[in-house]
């Protein structure tokens, strides 16, 4: 049943003009960022060669900046794709179909999250496929860090999808849901600026910042603690959305 709901969610995305407008803008920005970062990398490499300096490593010169750019695009665009996950069911009156069917509400939540995660992953990895293809064709990139970056992006999509689903369950307004997702994810991201130093705020930043838990993936470092933190975040957000959907029966 989870897969069936995910399939419908996926189908709804592919038939939504708004989703395609968002996806198109996203891909265009992704391409622009790739071009800019590649340009900077090539210029630095040329200048380095002129001065007979050691070549700029692919990892820190290209893969990590591209990973960071992709992460920022996800932060920017995910709220627009998640804002109607449950809010649209409420608005269009289709919620009774789900609630009166012999399925559990957690299946609805997991199905919707899975459908969105697949849609965004396909979008990001199809659009982002240009990077590894270019690197493999024109050089010999380190594959392990690239796989790490891919895993990091996948987990970030999962986290933002779960957060968006929770926000969508909190408000019937799509705009409010998008603002909640955007401010929460940005807040958790920017919490990292407080990481240096002492005191409870720094400690909070080190433990609670989304950026701190995803940035290592772009450098090819997969920390079990980060993976557990990200999965826990997804679990808690989905649990919240599930509870919220259950509570709709009592409103």
């Amino acid at each position: 049943m989870i897969w069936h709901i995910a399939r419908r969610e996926l189908l709804a995305r592919t038939r939504s003009p708004f989703a395609w407008v968002v996806a198109g803008t996203w891909l265009a920005l992704q391409g622009l960022m790739f071009t800019l970062i590649l340009g900077v990398y090539l210029r630095s490499s040329r200048e380095g060669a002129e001065w007979e300096e050691e070549a700029l490593p692919l990892l820190s010169g290209l893969i990590d900046p591209l990973y960071s750019a992709q992460s920022l695009l996800l932060l920017l665009f995910m709220p627009l794709l998640t804002m109607n996950l449950l809010a649209s069911e409420q608005r269009s009156g289709t919620l009774p179909l789900l609630l009166s069917s012999p399925i559990a509400t957690w299946e609805v939540i997991l199905g919707k999250w899975l459908g969105l995660t697949i849609f965004v992953s396909v979008l990001v990895f199809l659009g982002g496929a240009l990077t590894p293809i270019t690197l493999i064709v024109f050089g010999s990139p380190p594959l392990a860090p690239m796989a790490g970056a891919a895993l990091g992006l996948l987990l970030l999509i999962g986290v933002l999808g779960a957060l968006g689903l929770l926000a969508s369950s909190l408000s019937g307004s799509q705009l409010v849901a998008a603002v909640i997702t955007w401010t929460t994810s940005m807040g958790l991201w920017l919490l990292a600026v407080l990481e240096h130093g002492e005191g409870p705020l720094s400690s909070l930043a080190r433990h609670g910042s989304l950026l701190i838990h995803v940035r290592q993936f772009g450098r090819g470092l997969i920390d079990t603690g980060d993976v557990v933190w990200l999965f826990s975040f997804i679990g808690v957000a989905l649990l919240g959305a599930w509870q919220r959907l259950e509570s709709w029966r009592w409103r």
Binding site: L11, G93, T94, L95, P96, L97, S100, P102, I103, A104
Partner: protein
């Protein structure tokens, strides 16, 4: 079969449904009749598992909606007032989607979808996108999703609301076709709908049950004596005044070319007496019985 026992639902201080109890027997069509805000939709939403009850129990085909929620929901089909349909899907895809949600096995799905589309006369529109359909067709699609798993209980919330007269007529014909096959509970604020479609009517007002029964038994319960509608050529006011003076007449109300009379009982002598008196005012016809409308209004007034 639907069994509702002492069902209550509060929204803060507002009591939407208050100690409501009724039973809809297998194969019966029961109408839930009431003005806006009577608690009809709230009751139906609780019955379908979309809303929790503050207290009381609901059993659908023998399954408690809280204790055995999945089994209860599997046994029912629900058409809310606004059909729960996905605009971007085709009619066939949507009904197939509903069949999956309702747990129809993969091998049975094509037959179940075909049957639902045939029943709702949507076979020719199966490839059309739901969002492009007229309101009447969308209502049919809504009904098809409620029927696709052949539920033993069908709950319809104002199924003809917002339809044009021809669409109302075809929707009613469709519900009549289903009579006997399924236990049907439908809500309406249209008296004519309750009269023409339902075996029994339960009248709600302020979340409470004020009367329940067949049309004739309701009339008996709420009006007591017999009501006559006398069509006359003469002055209705003068006629009403003369009739009101007769001993068995409890009430005589003049109308346009007619007088509505309530008798203390339904005896033939009293009826003949009234007809004889009305003949002096040019009696054209004498029909017994107030419509359900009067019964309904009286029930609502009583509840206030």
């Amino acid at each position: 079969m639907i069994e509702v026992d002492a069902l209550s639902r509060r929204f803060g201080n507002l009591v939407a449904v208050d100690e409501l109890s009724f039973v809809v027997e297998s194969g019966e069509v029961m109408g839930l009749l009431g003005p806006n805000g009577a608690g009809k939709t709230t009751t139906l939403r609780i019955l379908c598992g979309c809303l929790g009850a503050t207290s009381g129990t609901v059993r659908i085909a023998g399954h408690d909606i809280t204790q055995a929620s999945r089994a209860a929901r599997a046994a029912l089909g629900y058409l809310p007032e606004k059909p729960p349909i996905y605009d971007e899907m085709s009619v066939e895809d949507f009904v197939d989607h509903a069949a999956r949600l309702r747990g129809v096995a993969r091998r049975d799905r094509p037959t179940a979808v075909d049957r639902a589309l045939t029943l709702t006369d949507l076979s020719k529109a199966r490839g059309r996108i739901v969002g492009h359909l007229s309101k009447g067709y969308r209502q049919r699609v809504g009904l098809a999703q409620a029927l696709v798993h052949s539920p033993s209980v069908l709950v319809l919330d104002e199924p003809t609301s917002g339809l044009d007269p021809s669409q109302v007529s075809s929707m009613r014909a469709l519900i009549r076709e289903l009579r006997g096959e399924q236990t049907i509970l439908l809500s309406t604020h249209l008296l004519s709908e309750a009269t023409t479609l339902c075996d029994r009517v339960t009248i709600l007002a302020g979340g409470r049950l004020v009367a329940s029964g067949t049309e004739s038994s309701l009339r008996e319960q709420l009006l007591g004596g017999l009501a006559l509608r006398l069509e006359i050529i003469g002055d209705p006011s003068a006629c009403a005044e003369a009739l009101a003076a007769l001993a068995p007449v409890e009430q005589a109300t003049p109308g346009e070319g007619e007088v509505l009379v309530t008798l203390c009982d339904a005896s033939n002598e009293h009826r003949a007496l009234v007809n004889a008196e009305a003949t002096r005012f040019g009696l054209v016809s004498s029909r017994s019985g107030e419509g359900l409308e009067q019964v309904f209004l009286r029930a609502i007034e009583g509840a206030k």
